[in-house]
């Protein structure tokens, strides 16, 4: 039995590496996806196009505006001369933020009364806007603090570098786990999930359907090899590729893009094994309902799209309607995204993440049972 499996494995590797397209498919997508998500499709909020309207034109107002440009998040693209220009600017989506310093800013600060500043934020993209507002709050707070400190010093004649106010309240927003709110850190687990889906479902389904299409399946069935041996032999090379791809993405992500990796590599490999088992079962299932390789590819995409959508990869599951949330429990990708985020960002281990492993295990067993039953029938 073992020997026959080895022969299948050897043949699969030979075919895989002889096919230029296949060589491409194995190593290109992980690298491409990493680069695309790492650079181009960054969902981080920076270089926010910002318009400035400074009616006060005093050293104090200039210093205030300077606070925005110095941190790198805001990019001054427009300098306005009148408040009337603001509306049209937002209508044309030229800017996301407008900072409007009204006349009398310096005077108000000097006299100790409230200085007025109007900050307009485009709220079309609410998650984006909330991040921007967070930045602004921080900047404004730190500016007011500075002024406060200055005044206290002036009144009491104390060196400002010495902290003096015990009752000062710091408002520092802190997002847990992903402190810099870097979307990269969120997307890399998604890339791993996506690649393992392509390798595990599409490649396995296509590899079986291809044999049926070219007629070699019939030839193999009349040899003493059993369907189980055949399937195992076909899956082993895919498992190898899956782990190579996982290592590749993890290495590029952590070493090149500086994505944190707080968990254990061994547990990552365990999680991959569970998820990949579910994918291979799905691939087997798809192979039993597809007559041609093209159909297998189409069916994989038909599965992948909703699976990605309802995995929590791009949209948080908590904000989905309850009925959809229930469906996500049948989605292996949901558990895997949980596992990966847990491992990468939170440094969690099996004690916290075992429910996700259990979910994957149940899905794999059910899918495998159904597909093996169907595979037996379909083989003829």
């Amino acid at each position: 039995m073992f020997e026959r499996i080895i022969h299948i494995v050897r043949k699969e590797f030979r075919q895989m590496f002889r096919d230029r397209m296949m060589r491409f498919l194995i190593f290109l997508p992980p690298i491409m996806e990493m680069l695309v998500f790492g650079y181009a499709a960054s969902f981080d909020v920076n270089s926010i196009p910002t318009a400035i309207l400074d009616e006060d034109k005093t050293p104090a107002s200039r210093a205030f505006v300077e606070e925005f440009s110095s941190n790198g998040y805001f990019n001054f693209t427009q300098y306005l001369s009148s408040p009337d220009q603001i509306d049209s600017l937002f209508d044309r989506v030229d800017v996301t933020v407008c900072v409007y310093v009204k006349k009398g800013f310096e005077r108000s600060i000097g006299s100790g009364t409230a200085a007025e500043v109007l900050i307009v934020v485009d709220g079309t993209d609410s998650s984006n806007a909330s991040v921007v507002v967070g930045y602004i709050t921080r900047i404004v707070n730190s500016y007011s603090e500075d002024i406060l400190l200055e005044r206290i010093t002036k009144f009491r004649g104390v060196n400002p570098t010495v902290p003096i106010s015990a009752n000062r309240v710091d408002l520092i927003e802190r997002t847990w786990y992903n402190e810099e709110l870097k979307s990269r850190n969120f997307f890399i687990p998604g890339i791993i999930a996506n690649i393992l889906t392509v390798v595990g479902i599409m490649m396995s389904a296509m590899s079986i359907v291809k044999e049926r299409e070219i007629g070699t399946m019939e030839q193999i069935i009349v040899t003493p090899i059993s369907p189980l041996e055949l399937i195992i032999g076909k899956m082993i090379p895919l498992v190898v590729i899956a782990y190579i791809d996982v290592c590749l993405v993890t290495a590029i992500g952590t070493l090149w893009f500086g994505v944190p990796f707080k968990g254990s590599f061994i547990f990552l490999f365990v999680a991959v094994a569970f998820f990949f088992a579910a994918n291979l079962s799905f691939g087997l299932l798809i192979s039993t309902v597809s007559a041609t390789q093209q159909q297998a590819m189409m069916n994989t995409f038909l599965y992948t799209f909703p699976a990605m959508l309802f995995s929590g990869f791009a949209f948080p599951i908590e904000s989905m309607p309850y009925a959809i949330v229930l469906i996500t429990y049948a989605n292996p990708m949901r558990y895997f995204i949980e596992l990966l985020r847990g491992i990468f960002i939170k440094g969690m281990g099996p004690t916290q993440l075992w429910p996700s492993l259990l979910g994957l295990l149940l899905i794999s067993i059910i899918a495998l049972a159904v597909s093996v039953a169907r595979f037996r029938k379909r083989i003829a």
């Binding site: 020997e3 026959r4 080895i6 022969h7 299948i8 050897r10 043949k11 030979r14 075919q15 002889r18 096919d19 070219i214 007629g215 070699t216 019939e218 030839q219 193999i220 069935i221 009349v222 040899t223 003493p224 090899i225 003829a380």
Partner: protein, 321 residues
């Protein structure tokens, strides 16, 4: 010794379509058994049931004494099969295909190298072992497939239309090979829809519309199953001549074979006389008219015609009652 293949009332139904209908026959050890029939007759379906690819709907069959329902594994170890579709990997090298099939057939380690060389030699591909299989000509691919099916030295070899799509020269070479294999004691079960290939077989079964119509050696079939004598007529207008003589009393059958006319008559002398008279009356010039030994093709055409006729009558009777 028992027969290599014994089939009894084997039937396979797809939905409500009967692909193989109560077929019974047996194949002796060491013989070349030809399974002849037009496309869609049920040849592949029969072979696939005997190989354990397809489950029969009903009936019995044993291959080398093993039951096709319960002992498929034993059967698989002892048979070789070449399916109708070319079934090697085009993207593997010649030697890689051989190694693969040798591996999954588990050819004994100490024999392996020698068997691989044998297969290469037999296929005439010793110099091309490193060639990509897809680049070979069809005839060579076919011989390679045959070599791969024989690596484990099976006792029975099933060949499903091995020569379809192969040029005439390669077809002849291929049949020579089959002859050599049978000489070494392997039983060969081969299907074909080429009538001329039937002469290469020791025994033949004719399958038509899911039913086995006749079975026997080529000689038995030629002389035993013809309802009359075949008369070859060389005439100036064979097509028109065929139409004319077909309706004549005492003529069972008339078909155009190349430039000539083959007429099956119930009585030799009587028939020749009538044909001459009818054709002369129609001003068709007859160069020669003589009784000939029937070819297998004559036999099959005749058998198929009478089968169709029986079917029509059956249908008419059924409709009339």
């Amino acid at each position: 010794m028992e027969d290599a293949v014994v089939v009894k009332d084997l039937t396979r139904v797809f939905g409500d379509f009967v692909a193989v209908d109560r077929v019974s026959f047996s194949v002796k050890r060491g013989e070349i058994f030809g399974f002849l029939g037009p496309n869609g007759a049920g040849k592949s379906t029969t072979i696939r049931m005997l190989n354990g690819i397809l489950m029969p709907t009903s009936g019995q069959a044993h291959v080398l004494g093993f039951d096709i329902y319960t002992q498929v594994d034993r059967i698989k170890e002892n048979i070789g099969y070449m399916s109708q579709k070319f079934s090697l990997y085009d993207d593997l090298k010649v030697i890689e295909n051989i190694e693969f099939y040798g591996g999954i057939y588990q050819v004994a380690k100490q024999k392996r190298q020698q068997r691989y060389e044998w297969a290469l030699r037999m296929a005439g591909l010793t110099d091309k072992r490193e060639a990509i299989t897809g680049a070979l000509a069809v005839g060579w691919k076919q011989r390679l497939a045959l070599g791969c099916a024989l690596l484990h030295e099976p006792q029975v070899l099933f060949l499903d239309e091995p020569t379809s799509g192969v040029d005439p020269k390669s077809r002849r070479d291929f049949w020579d090979l089959i002859g050599e294999i049978a000489d070494r004691g392997t039983t060969v079960f081969v299907t074909t829809h080429y009538m001329d290939e039937a002469e290469h077989c020791d025994r033949l079964g004719l399958i038509y519309r899911a039913r086995l119509i006749t079975i026997g050696t080529p000689e038995e079939l030629k002389y035993g199953s013809m309802p009359g004598t075949v008369v070859e007529v060389e005439a100036s207008d064979p097509v028109r001549a065929a139409d004319l003589v077909r309706n004549v009393n005492g003529v069972l059958e008339a078909a155009v074979f190349g430039a000539n006319l083959h007429v099956v008559v119930r009585d030799k002398k009587e028939g020749i006389r009538t044909i001459s008279r009818v054709l002369a009356g129609a001003a068709i010039e007859v160069t020669s008219i003589r009784p000939i030994e029937p070819s297998l093709e004559d036999v099959f055409v005749s058998l198929i015609r009478s089968e169709d006729l029986a079917d029509e009558n059956g249908a008419r009777d059924a409709a009339g009652s």
